[in-house]
Homo-oligomer: 233 residues x 2
């Protein structure tokens, strides 16, 4: 009756498991960003306080996170920027680029295809695919839009394992099914629907409109003077 059995597997980091806590994994990219910045400023070493400052994470949390990677700091000194960077890059698999296929060449899709921040952070969009035959061949950044019918070939030949879904909501589930069928095992979903995928496929959801709604909730509670003009004093 309930949604899913949801295998109660060993989630945490059990002894022989090299896995990191999910919350830690989600923050490693932030540390990487901060370290890259620090390095470009010439810093050789940094403290957990500095990392805290530039990521918004508490310093105790920074230390705990980094300790999961092993001990790489020097007491009384801090962390070696280059070494830590390499360590984190290694942990999250950024020693090489990941090939990504982008599905959906609408406004959002084309904006992402042009975004330079992916390449510098470990992901390379190697194909832009759209369902509309009229769009096929059109240039987006330095890629030509390809037909969604070629998904399987694209995915296998270009060693793609991660996909970005930037289609309208009603197309997203179908696209996801095709992607999974073609061998994709990680999906970043920008469409405002929950995707149903088989066990073993990871989905991360980004929904900008929902984020605004969350902000609106807090805004409402602040009693923001939005209607002050109408309220008599």
């Amino acid at each position: 009756m309930t949604i899913l059995p949801r295998r109660s597997r060993l989630t945490g980091a059990s002894s022989s498991d090299r896995g990191l806590p999910n919350a830690t994994v989600a923050r490693l990219p932030l540390y990487l960003r901060a370290l890259t910045q620090l390095r470009s400023q010439g810093s050789q070493t940094c403290s957990s306080d500095q990392l805290a400052e530039s990521t918004g994470v508490s310093s105790a949390n920074v230390r705990k996170d980094l300790s999961h990677l092993g001990s790489h700091g020097t007491r009384g000194v801090g962390y070696d920027v280059d070494h830590l960077r390499a360590e984190i890059a290694q942990a999250i698999g950024q020693t090489q680029d990941w090939n990504v296929v982008l599905v959906g060449a609408g406004n959002l899709g084309t904006a992402l295809a042009a975004y330079p921040g992916f390449t510098s952070r470990g992901s390379r969009i190697v194909a832009v695919v759209d369902a509309d035959p009229a769009r096929v061949g059109e240039q987006v950044g330095d890629l030509a839009i390809e037909s969604i019918d070629h998904l399987e070939t694209i995915i296998t030949e270009r060693a793609v394992s991660i996909a970005i879904v930037a289609t309208p909501g009603q197309a997203a589930q179908t696209v996801a099914d095709q992607l999974v069928g073609a061998g994709v095992t990680s999906i970043l979903n920008l469409a405002p629907v929950a995707l149903r995928v088989p066990e073993g496929v990871d989905v991360r959801q980004v929904d900008v409109a929902a984020e605004l709604q969350i902000l609106a909730y807090h805004e409402q509670r602040k009693g923001h003077p939005r209607e002050e003009a109408e309220v008599s004093r």
Copy 2:
């Protein structure tokens, strides 16, 4: 030495506090989405299992979340779609639109300006602002780009309290300072930097490149024949 004293305010929902748990707030938009969909399919009522199915949240969690809004279901039957929708809309302040200013008319900014999903979900972009004088006047969707120098006027005159920052990383903090100075109290930050804002200002961060890095981590782990982990949130 550590980062901040971080006033230990009553975070949870204390008795006289109408506040909801953060995790619940973050899911209300999902329920709203699902209910809108269900209603358009003609459903009069729905169960927590149906909501679970269409949001990816467990049914127990759905019930717990909804119970925070008060008891609005009927045992043995489920929830009245329209009534629940109204209840949630009320709770997250979607009974009317929130005016939003978008800063940064680059690829991502213009894509968001054209996105129809905001209006239908409680947010209306009422201004697009850019720092580049050459872009001012240019049409984006049905808005003309305005100068960032007019931020304060725009924000006060159009009753804006929420902003989207879609600028390059190095400009984001300056823009955030300007926004806060002009009276904005909620920021959705799409730039890949942590924003420093005063107490009372809410920031939500969306970083697509970081999401891909998180997926890459799990992807890397799948490479080895070990039991795979499930990604959350």
